[in-house]
Symmetry: C2
Subunit: 110 residues, 2 copies
DNA sequence: TTATATGCCTAAATGAACGAGGTATCTCCC
DNA sequence: GGGAGATACCTCGTTCATTTAGGCATATAA
């Protein structure tokens, strides 16, 4: 149904991109995506954590337990080389796809 | 997985938009989407027909049997008022969403 | 001390899309 | 006559991401 959230398939790209710069822990990843999109992209935890595990299982992400700035225990994720390659390919595919959809949809709601 | 196809959730919008102008039959809808996106958006029949039935069940589409220009039997779909309203809302949501994703992803693959 | 924010997680249910199969008709060509 | 290929419809089983709704633990601010 999609209710009011993400279009399936984009979460992985968003996650990979978000941890591309520096390792981040799950909770912060969700927050970062939400913040940077000004609330438009809301990442449910029930989707976020499974996605992180999925990406790690695929070798696109690596994780290590560490401490946050405030001293809390957290699992930090960083992108692997494979993850980076995957991100680039998928980002390209996304750009192509969303351009195609936008072109077709042009004028519907503007 | 998504292999190489649609990002889930956009098919409904594409269908509604495609039949917005004039009633079309399923096969032609798939072809129209494929053609207008220059092959980037490929609509599998296993996704297309269930989607048409789904949309009709929801009252967003209406169907009637008719004949194509070449004289073949085909089921023609047209958008209902509810379908039009839904299309406009979803297209807006799509625009907002894809803008947000593109903004975040900016610079990844360009 | 109690609520709120941080931080992690899982399990059941939903449902969309994929892949692969099937039927039938029509046209074109050998 | 007989096959190939395009048109046109359909369904079924599987896969898989997301939603909804929980649970657990710790820290901090009211």
């Amino acid at each position: 149904m999609s209710g009011s959230d993400l279009f399936t398939g984009t979460l992985d790209i968003l996650i990979l991109h978000t941890v591309r710069g520096a390792p981040l822990h799950g909770y912060a990843i969700g927050k970062a995506i939400r913040d940077r999109s000004e609330g438009i992209l809301s990442v449910e935890e029930g989707a976020l954590y499974p996605a992180l595990h999925r990406l790690e299982r695929k070798g696109l992400l690596e994780s290590a337990w560490g401490k946050t700035e405030t001293g809390r225990k957290a699992k930090f994720y960083r992108v692997t080389d494979a993850g980076l390659a995957h991100l680039e390919a998928e980002a390209e595919r996304w750009a192509e796809f969303s351009d195609a959809v936008s072109t077709i949809l042009e004028g519907v709601s503007r």
